[in-house]
C-alpha cells in the first residue's frame, strides 16, 4: 500500500526551497543546477516565464522584466512597474510563479501530484501578508495550503531528531530580508515556541546596502564620483553595485579578502574600478546590523524572563548564517551554536514538510497506487499521521452502504501483530487503540468480516502512523480587535490563540443609521498589542451600509460582531443586527495600508516636538533615568528624519520607517504615562509582598507554585514595566492571596465577623442572634472548627439579596 508524501516549501525573499517527507526521511530537493535553493526571481520574456538562477542572471541586463524580493511587498496592493507586455505584477502573482516552478520540480522528481502543501511565512507576518501567501499558493495550483511560521519550521526540523528534553534553544534566522528569532523548548513530545521576536526589515540585503554605501564613499574619495543612490538615473548602476556587494559578502564567508569589480557608466563615461574589501572591514561595516539582531534576541530572552545561562544553544538559519561574523557574535553574546549537520538553508523547508505530516496533509504517489486503491474508499478512517502517544486510536466508519461490515481486525503490515476482532457498531463505527513503534513509523492494515465471519475485500486509505514530536497549533501572532469610537481597541482574538479561531462580542453603535441615507458605519479591524488603536495596524474593515438596512439603526443599537481567522491568514468578519435579524459580512479590504509620506512626516514632527519638551523637562530636573530613556529614543528619531526627507515613493522604505516611528512613539507614550505606571507599580509591589507573606505562612503547595511564577513575573514587571502585565499580575496576586488566606486559622473569625454584621437581616433573627453569641464565644476560645460550622449556619440564614449586594463589592475587589 502506498505511503503518502508530504511537501513543504520555504518561500524566501531571496531563495526558495522545497522538501519532501515520506514518513521515514526528510530531504530538500536539488534542482537541475544541483542546488537546493532556487532564487526567488521571476523573469518575463515574451509569453514565457523563467524562475530561479536563469532569471537572476538578467536582473541587470533586463531589469524591466525581471523581478525579485517581492515577498517584502506581500499583502500590499503595490504593483510592479509595467513589464514589456505592459503587465503590472502583484507580489502574490510573482510568488505564485516561484511556487509553480517548485511544484513542477517536485512533481517531476517524486512522480506524484501535489495539491496540498505547507508554506512557511515569517513569524511576524501579519494577516494580509499571510493571506497573500495563501493566495499565491492557490494561484500556483495548490488546493489546500497551510502556513507555518519559519522559526517553528526550523525548530521542528532541528528538534525532530534531538532528544534534549526540556532545554530552551534559540532559532536565529537571518534571511535576505527578514530577521526572525524564536525561543523553543521540547518536552513530552511537544515542541513549543515559547516566544518569538524579529524585524520584518532586517536581513542580508541590509548588509549589501551598507556595502554599497561604503562603495559610493570610496568612489567619492578615489574617483571623485558623486553617485546619488536615490536618483533614478543611477538605479541600474546601484543594482549592479548591490549584486557585486552581495558576491563579495558571500565570498568573505569563506575567504579573508575579496575584490569588488565594478563596471559602470557615469556621466557618459565608462568606469572599471576594483575595490578591495576584507573580512575585518566587512565586520566593521555590518556590526550595527548584527548588533541589532543580537539585541532583538536579548529582548526576547528578557521578555521571557530567561537568563543567558539558561539558553542551551542557538540554531542558525538562513544565508547570512554562513558569515563568520554572525557566528562569532552569536557565540560571544548568546550561547554556543548547535552542532548540527543540517544546512542552514534547508531547515525551514524540511520543517514545513515534517509539519505537513503532523497535520495529515499528504499526497499519494501516482505510480505505485495499487489496484485496490483505485476504487472509491469504502471506509472513512481517522488516525494521526504523527503522534506523541504510543497508543493512538484508529477510528473507522463504513461509508459505502452496500457493504455489510460486522467486525474488523487491525494488523501491522509486517504481520507481527494483530488485534482481536473488533465489533462495528450500529452507526457503522469501530475504534481501537493500537501500539506504535517509538520514534518510528508503523503501518497497519484492516481486515473486514461480515456477520458470518467471511472476509470482505475493503478499499481504504493506507494507515501509517509516525511516532515523533508534534507542535502546538500555530498561534495567532498578533492580537486582533476592533478600533472603538474612543480610540481604544477591543481585543477579539488574543495573541497566542490557536488557529483557526473564532470569537463574538456585542458592541453598540454610536450614531444612528438611516436607510437610504448613504451613511456607512465603519468598523475598523486592527492587529497589534497596544490598547490604542492608532498604534495597531489596520488590517480590514467591516462596513455597515445604511442602504442595506430595513429600518433605522438607533444610537446604542447592539451589533454582534464575529471575527474568524483561519491558518491561511484569511479573516472573515460579520455583524449581526439582532433587532433587524440581519447579518452583514465584512472585510472588504485586507491589505497593508500603504503609509503616506506626508502623514509620516507629520507624525515624525509631532513625535519630535513631544520628545523635545520631555527632554527639556528632564534636563531641568536633572532626571538621569529619564534622560537614559529619552536619549536613545531621540537618537533613533534623528536617524530617521533625514531619511524621511530624502525618501522617494518607496513602499518598502515607507513601511520600515512607519514601523520604526510607531515603535518610537509607543515608547515615548509609555514614558509620558510613567507617573500612572509608577502608581500601578507601587500597588503591585504592595500586593506582591502582602501575598508573599500570606502564602509563606498559610499557602498550600499549589499556592506556592503559583506564587513562584508570580515572583518571576513580578521581577520582570519591575524591570520592564508594562501596564497590562502589571494589572494582570495584581489580579493574579489577589487570587493567590485569597486562596492562602482561607488557610489562616483566624480566617473563619474574619468571615464570621463579616456575616455577623448582617445578622439583623437574617430570616430567623432569634436563631441568628444565638449563633452570633456562640460564634463570639468560639472566636474567644479559638475554636475555629466550631466557628466554621456556626458561620455556615449563619450564612444560610442571610437572605440572598443581602448576599448579592456583597457580591457586587466583591466583583471589584477580587477578579
Amino acid at each position: 500500500m502506498s505511503q503518502s508524501k508530504y511537501i513543504g516549501i520555504d518561500l524566501g525573499t531571496s531563495n526558495s526551497a522545497v522538501s519532501v517527507f515520506d514518513g521515514d526521511e526528510v530531504k530538500t530537493l536539488v534542482n537541475a543546477r544541483g542546488e537546493i535553493n532556487t532564487p526567488s526571481v521571476v523573469r518575463v520574456k515574451g509569453g514565457s516565464i523563467t524562475v530561479g538562477a536563469k532569471a537572476q542572471k538578467h536582473l541587470h541586463s533586463d531589469s524591466k522584466n525581471t523581478f525579485k524580493e517581492f515577498k517584502r511587498l506581500m499583502g500590499t496592493q503595490s504593483q510592479s512597474e509595467p513589464d514589456d507586455n505592459g503587465k503590472r505584477w502583484l507580489p502574490e502573482e510573482l510568488s505564485s510563479e516561484v511556487l509553480k516552478a517548485l511544484k513542477a520540480q517536485v512533481e517531476r522528481q517524486e512522480n506524484c501530484q501535489f495539491d496540498k502543501v505547507v508554506i512557511t511565512v515569517p513569524a511576524l507576518f501579519e494577516l494580509p501578508q499571510s493571506k497573500a501567501t495563501a493566495e499565491a499558493a492557490r494561484m500556483a495550483g495548490f488546493k489546500q495550503v497551510e502556513l507555518l511560521p519559519e522559526p517553528v519550521a526550523s525548530g521542528l526540523s532541528s528538534g525532530w531528531s534531538e532528544q534534549e528534553a526540556g532545554a530552551a534553544w534559540l532559532i536565529y534566522d537571518l534571511g535576505g530580508g527578514t530577521f526572525d528569532v524564536s525561543l523553543i523548548e521540547s518536552r513530552d513530545g511537544l515542541l513549543r515556541v515559547i516566544g518569538h521576536d524579529g524585524d520584518n526589515f532586517l536581513g542580508g540585503r541590509d548588509i549589501d546596502r551598507t556595502i554599497v554605501n561604503w562603495l559610493i564613499e570610496q568612489l567619492v574619495e578615489t574617483e571623485g564620483l558623486q553617485l546619488d543612490h536615490k536618483h533614478s538615473d543611477y538605479s541600474s548602476v546601484i543594482r549592479h553595485f548591490e549584486s557585486a556587494a552581495e558576491n563579495a559578502k558571500i565570498k568573505l564567508s569563506t575567504l579573508e579578502h575579496s575584490v569588488i569589480e565594478l563596471e559602470f557608466e557615469y556621466d557618459n563615461e565608462d568606469y572599471e574600478v576594483d575595490i578591495a574589501l576584507t573580512r575585518d572591514e566587512l565586520k566593521t561595516l555590518c556590526a550595527p546590523i548584527i548588533d541589532r539582531s543580537i539585541q532583538i534576541c536579548q529582548r526576547l530572552l528578557s521578555a521571557q524572563g530567561l537568563q543567558l545561562e539558561q539558553l542551551k544553544r542557538v540554531v542558525l538559519v538562513g544565508g547570512p548564517a554562513h558569515m563568520p561574523i554572525v557566528q562569532s557574535a552569536v557565540q560571544e553574546k548568546l550561547a554556543p551554536l548547535a552542532q548540527t549537520d543540517h544546512d542552514p538553508m534547508c531547515l525551514v523547508a524540511n520543517g514545513a514538510a515534517l509539519y505537513a505530516a503532523t497535520i495529515n496533509l499528504g499526497c499519494e504517489p501516482a505510480a505505485d497506487t495499487d489496484k485496490a486503491d483505485e476504487r472509491e474508499h469504502q471506509l472513512w478512517l481517522q488516525y494521526p499521521s504523527v503522534c506523541t502517544e504510543l497508543n493512538p486510536t484508529i477510528m473507522g466508519r463504513v461509508i459505502d452502504e452496500s457493504i455489510k461490515l460486522s467486525q474488523v481486525q487491525i494488523c501491522t503490515q509486517d504481520g507481527s501483530w494483530q488485534s482481536p476482532m473488533i465489533p462495528v457498531d450500529d452507526s457503522n463505527i469501530f475504534m481501537l487503540e493500537v501500539s506504535v513503534k517509538a520514534g518510528g513509523k508503523s503501518s497497519f492494515i484492516i481486515n473486514g468480516f461480515d456477520q458470518n465471519r467471511q472476509a470482505i475485500d475493503l478499499a481504504y486509505q493506507a494507515v501509517h502512523i509516525v511516532h515523533g514530536i508534534t507542535i502546538s497549533d500555530p498561534p495567532l501572532s498578533r492580537s486582533i480587535g476592533l478600533a472603538l469610537a474612543d480610540g481604544s481597541v477591543k481585543t477579539f482574538i488574543d495573541r497566542g490563540t490557536p488557529l483557526p479561531a473564532k470569537r463574538s462580542f456585542a458592541q453598540s453603535t454610536i450614531e444612528t443609521l438611516v436607510p437610504g441615507s448613504g451613511q456607512k458605519l465603519q468598523i475598523p479591524i486592527v492587529q497589534g498589542e497596544r490598547k490604542q488603536a492608532r498604534f495597531c495596524r489596520k488590517v480590514g474593515v467591516l462596513v455597515i451600509d445604511a442602504a442595506e438596512l430595513k429600518a433605522p439603526l438607533p444610537v446604542g443599537a447592539t451589533i454582534e460582531i464575529t471575527i474568524e481567522v483561519d491558518r491561511g491568514g484569511d479573516m472573515r468578519s460579520q455583524a449581526f443586527l439582532p433587532q433587524q435579524n440581519k447579518i452583514i459580512h465584512g472585510v472588504a479590504q485586507l491589505f497593508l495600508a500603504k503609509p503616506e509620506l506626508s502623514a509620516l512626516k507629520t507624525l515624525s514632527q509631532n513625535i519630535n516636538t513631544r520628545m523635545s519638551s520631555q527632554l527639556q523637562q528632564a534636563f531641568r530636573s536633572r532626571d538621569e533615568s529619564a534622560l537614559g530613556v529619552l536619549n536613545p529614543l531621540t537618537q533613533r528619531l534623528q536617524l530617521l528624519l533625514p531619511e524621511l526627507l530624502s525618501m522617494a515613493d518607496d513602499v518598502d522604505g515607507l513601511q520600515r520607517i512607519s514601523r520604526e516611528l510607531m515603535e518610537i512613539e509607543s515608547e515615548l507614550e509609555l514614558f509620558e504615562s510613567r507617573e500612572q505606571l509608577s502608581e500601578l507599580m507601587e500597588e503591585c509591589e504592595m500586593a506582591y509582598f502582602g501575598t508573599d507573606d500570606m502564602v509563606k505562612e498559610y499557602g498550600r503547595d499549589t499556592d506556592k507554585r503559583v506564587m513562584q511564577s508570580c515572583a518571576k513575573q513580578f521581577e520582570q514587571a519591575m524591570q520592564n514595566p508594562r501596564q497590562g502585565d502589571i494589572e494582570r499580575l495584581i489580579e493574579r496576586l489577589n487570587q493567590v492571596y485569597h486562596s492562602a488566606y482561607k488557610n489562616k486559622p483566624e480566617f473563619w473569625a474574619d468571615v464570621f465577623q463579616r456575616w455577623a454584621s448582617h445578622a439583623h437581616a437574617a430570616r430567623d433573627p432569634v436563631r441568628a442572634d444565638k449563633l452570633v453569641r456562640q460564634g463570639n464565644e468560639a472566636v474567644a476560645r479559638k475554636e475555629y472548627g466550631r466557628l466554621q460550622a456556626i458561620t455556615n449556619e449563619l450564612y444560610d440564614l442571610i437572605p440572598e439579596q443581602q448576599k448579592s449586594q456583597q457580591g457586587d463589592n466583591y466583583d471589584s475587589g477580587i477578579y
Partner: protein, 118 residues
C-alpha cells in the same frame, strides 16, 4: 468558541473538563484526547459534542477542543487550570456561587469561600 465563563477563575479548569482529563494528564494524553474526541464528533457519535461541567452540560466543537488543548500546552495557563481544578462532578463548590445559596456546606473548599469573603 471559548465559553464566556473562562474569565472567571473559578472556571479555570475548563480545558480539563472539555478534554475530560485531570491535572495528571501528560501532553501525549492531551493530544490524544483532543484528537479522539474530535474524531468522534466528526463521526457524529452521540454525546461526543457535549461535556460535563460543575454547572451542567456544555457543548464542544473543534474550536473549543483546539483552545483547550492549547491552553493545557501552555504552562502558565495550565498551572492556573491545575490550581483551580475541581472535578466536573463536584457541583457543591459552585452551588455556593449560584443564586440558590446553601452551597457552603463544603466549607473546606477555597472557592465558595472566596465568593463571600472580602
Amino acid at each position: 468558541m471559548i465559553p464566556e465563563f473562562t474569565d472567571n477563575p473559578l472556571f479555570s479548569a475548563w480545558p480539563f473538563w472539555v478534554l475530560e482529563l485531570t491535572p495528571e494528564a501528560k501532553n501525549s494524553e492531551i493530544e490524544k484526547a483532543a484528537r479522539d474526541i474530535l474524531a468522534k464528533i466528526n463521526f457524529k457519535v452521540p454525546g461526543a459534542d457535549e461535556f460535563q461541567t460543575p454547572i451542567g452540560k456544555s457543548t464542544r466543537d473543534d474550536y473549543l477542543l483546539r483552545e483547550a488543548k492549547s491552553a493545557l500546552q501552555n504552562p502558565k495557563v495550565r498551572l492556573l487550570a491545575e490550581f483551580w481544578f475541581v472535578s466536573p462532578s463536584d457541583i457543591q463548590v459552585f452551588a455556593g456561587a449560584g443564586q440558590e445559596g446553601s452551597g457552603n456546606d463544603n466549607a473546606e473548599d477555597p472557592y465558595g469561600v472566596c465568593l463571600w469573603a472580602e
